[in-house]
């Protein structure tokens, strides 16, 4: 990505939540929800972020938008360092960075009409005056943009289904013409047939408006479908980052390989034939992450140095980054056939 195309740059971002204990409420530890992640998002690009629950993907999204104050690290948006500015200066930038949330039931105020919900950002940021014709036109335009009937402005959220509510949430996020939207599991709460509607809408909007998405989800197949590049997270750290086809055709990190192998494919014949590698155990707690490589406790290939030394992120091919000691040569970090068979038999 050339320098000019970068919209968001995240450098060694960390977000630790303190654990307080004892009589005096002293800090006794920290949940390392996000523990040093770095990546870039280009203009008009979709960066997918996948990982299991508790891997810090949602916290990462919020820390980038400064909704959680990062513990350390830097976030650049265009020419501004978000982690340095605050108050009014940050507020001036907010219109350009928006968010779409997971639960379309919790994120819309039940007492506000659709018109008020979608138009409110414009009023708050003093782009348009409350009650003005200009505002009404813009709200109608936005509703039409997300495929809703503009006459719905007087209706309330409870009159809509989950998918329609998510469209309202998207219209609200788009109202200020943002260049970057963090989408935190925007389709997880929706039924399959509705998920496709919302994903198609998001892709159409991207090609029309050239907006960049950070698309956070746990559904690997949907992330692959919508993303240009994908970040795989585990326990607050980035395991692998690559262009989407590269990540699926040539996954270098053992975690990506097992994640890939665990996702069921809606093809019965293929599912029956498939030899999947099944990871043992559950992800450890981010309050007490393992030493060295955080994945070593579940990794089938872990060696001595994985227990002691944390692997650095290395660029193995152009644009393909991996944090694994064994990825030196292409075969080093591949889970061997015997191990895959053993996991199925065992």
């Amino acid at each position: 990505m050339s320098e000019n195309d970068v919209l968001v740059r995240v450098l060694n971002l960390k977000k630790h939540f303190p654990i307080v204990g004892g009589l005096l409420g002293r800090q006794v530890g920290a949940v390392k929800a996000v523990d040093g992640i770095s990546f870039e998002i280009g203009r008009g690009e979709t960066l997918g972020m996948v990982g299991e629950s508790g891997c810090g993907k949602s916290t990462a999204g919020r820390a980038i938008l400064q909704l959680h104050k990062p513990t350390s690290g830097q976030v650049f948006f265009q020419d501004h360092e978000l982690t340095q500015i605050g108050g009014e200066e940050l507020r001036q930038l907010r219109p350009q960075m928006q968010m779409i949330f997971q639960d379309p039931y919790a994120t819309l105020n039940p007492r506000h009409s659709v018109g008020k919900i979608v138009g409110e950002p414009l009023v708050i940021h003093r782009v348009m005056k409350k009650g003005s014709q200009e505002l009404k036109d813009r709200v109608a335009e936005l509703l039409e943009l997300v495929g809703m009937d503009p006459t719905y402005v007087r209706r309330f959220p409870h009159e809509f289904s989950g998918g329609q509510r998510q469209r309202i949430g998207i219209a609200r996020a788009l109202s200020l013409n943002p260049s970057f939207i963090v989408c935190d599991e925007p389709i997880s709460a929706l039924d399959v047939s509705i998920q496709a509607q919302v994903v198609n809408l998001m892709q159409d909007l991207q090609s029309q408006l050239n907006v960049a998405y950070l698309f956070i989800a746990h559904d690997l197949s949907m992330v692959k479908h919508i993303s240009h590049r994908i970040v795989v997270m585990y326990l607050g750290k980035i395991m692998e980052l690559a262009e989407r086809n590269e990540l699926f055709d040539n996954p270098l990190h053992p975690y990506t390989q097992s994640l890939n192998s665990a996702v069921p494919v809606p093809l019965p014949k293929m599912e029956r034939r498939r030899r999947r590698f099944i990871l043992k155990g559950d992800p450890p707690s981010p309050a007490n992450p393992p030493s060295g490589c955080v994945f070593h406790t579940r990794c089938p290939l872990s060696e001595k140095k994985c227990h002691t030394t944390e692997p650095e992120s290395r660029e193995m091919h152009p644009g393909h980054f991996v944090s694994c000691h064994l990825a030196d040569d292409a075969e080093g970090s591949k889970i061997p056939e015997q191990t895959i068979l053993a996991s199925v038999m065992g």
């Binding site: 289904s161 399959v192 047939s193 998920q195 496709a196 919508i226 069921p264 599912e271 990871l279």
Partner: protein, 343 residues
């Protein structure tokens, strides 16, 4: 294969303050010994209510099982579950029919050790002594892949992770070697790597015990790997029932076609645009006189708006509730279906 469960024309309604919710409107299916039948549908399709109705787990009021039969062939002969008394049903549940629910933390009792909870099932249903039950429970823990079963017997649910808790729930479900295990979204609350573990465990147990499984889910990916037959439900009615390969390769109902098209595919290089089904699922408060999918269907014609399509036989063990033939792209000619009702 002999049938262990034969359900016919099940109707369940909920009488709520907002009106009558027509949750299940005439569901029929057979479950054969040792087979896995997946019931697939979106929220509100009636897939969970169907199974809960059979076992007397519908909260009454507001729910009422209005009509239907459900013959279960157990070791004590063939009985209609819907005619059984509460006491008789209690003996079936957890004994000859085991359960696995979505959320293992709310299934397990937080103040009993997991060992006690497995042993309780055994003393209740199999008249074991406490000593026998303890030994068998430890065996079961080992069988579902819990390391150090003797030690873990004394642990409480909060000391287990989500995947381990679901293993404990599975141990309880299979404790009395049931004929049927009903698994209601057993992997939905789990992470994908843990989901793969649980799916794998189910496969092994099925081979080992020969138990029939009803797997209720919305995830067509999981279904492809676990099921032999699939029942697709829509608006409280069966839309299509077929062998798993037929359903995925030759789906006959426009809703099934839509659902499969809505899934992104990991195996394809270029992402094609997803096929979305327009509109939203039907409002179950309104009793229908026509096909529940007609509003969202691209192929609906006048007949679809006039009557409810019955399940028609369209192939070997393949039945579909649709007047439109997706193969010839014309209305079906023999619209009364014909053939025996071998659902």
């Amino acid at each position: 294969m002999p049938t262990v469960l034969k359900v016919r024309d099940l109707v369940t309604k909920f009488y709520t303050l907002d009106g009558v919710v027509n949750a299940v409107n005439g569901v029929s299916f057979d479950l054969e010994e040792g087979e896995t039948l997946a019931i697939v549908g979106e929220s509100g399709s009636g897939k969970s209510v169907t199974m809960m109705s059979l076992l007397g787990l519908i909260p009454t009021p507001p729910g009422v099982v209005e009509s239907g039969t459900a013959f279960f062939s157990g070791p004590e002969g063939r009985h209609d579950l819907l005619q059984m008394s509460a006491e008789e049903l209690r003996n079936v549940r957890g004994g000859q029919i085991g359960f696995v629910f979505q959320d293992p933390i709310s299934t397990l009792n937080p103040i009993l050790t997991i060992g006690e909870q497995i042993a309780e099932t055994l003393t209740r249903h199999q008249n074991m002594t406490r000593e026998q039950a303890r030994n068998r429970a430890t065996e079961l823990l080992a069988q579902v892949g819990i390391p150090d079963p003797k030690l873990r017997y004394k642990n409480y649910p909060f000391q287990f992770s989500g995947g381990m808790r679901q293993r404990v729930v599975i141990a309880i479900a299979i404790a009395c070697t049931p004929q049927i295990v009903i698994a209601d979204e057993p992997t939905t609350a789990l992470d994908v790597t843990v989901q793969a573990q649980i799916v794998d465990l189910f496969r092994k147990l099925r081979e080992l015990l020969g138990v029939a499984v009803v797997w209720i889910t919305h995830d067509l990916g999981v279904v492809a790997g676990v099921a032999e037959r699939v029942l697709v439900m829509y608006g409280g009615r069966p839309a299509e029932i077929a062998l798993v390969d037929d359903l995925y390769e030759r789906p006959q109902h426009p809703y099934t076609v839509g659902l499969l098209g809505a899934l992104p595919r990991l195996d394809l290089k270029e992402s094609e645009r997803l096929v979305s089904i327009r509109g939203a699922p039907p409002d179950l408060l309104i009793p229908l006189k026509h096909c529940p999918f007609a509003w969202r269907c691209d192929y609906a014609f006048d007949r679809c708006w006039e009557e409810i399509p019955p399940l028609l036989t369209v192939g070997m063990r393949h039945r579909v509730a649709c007047f439109y033939d997706m193969a010839t792209h014309a209305p079906r000619r023999s619209a009364n279906g014909g053939g025996p009702r071998d659902v």
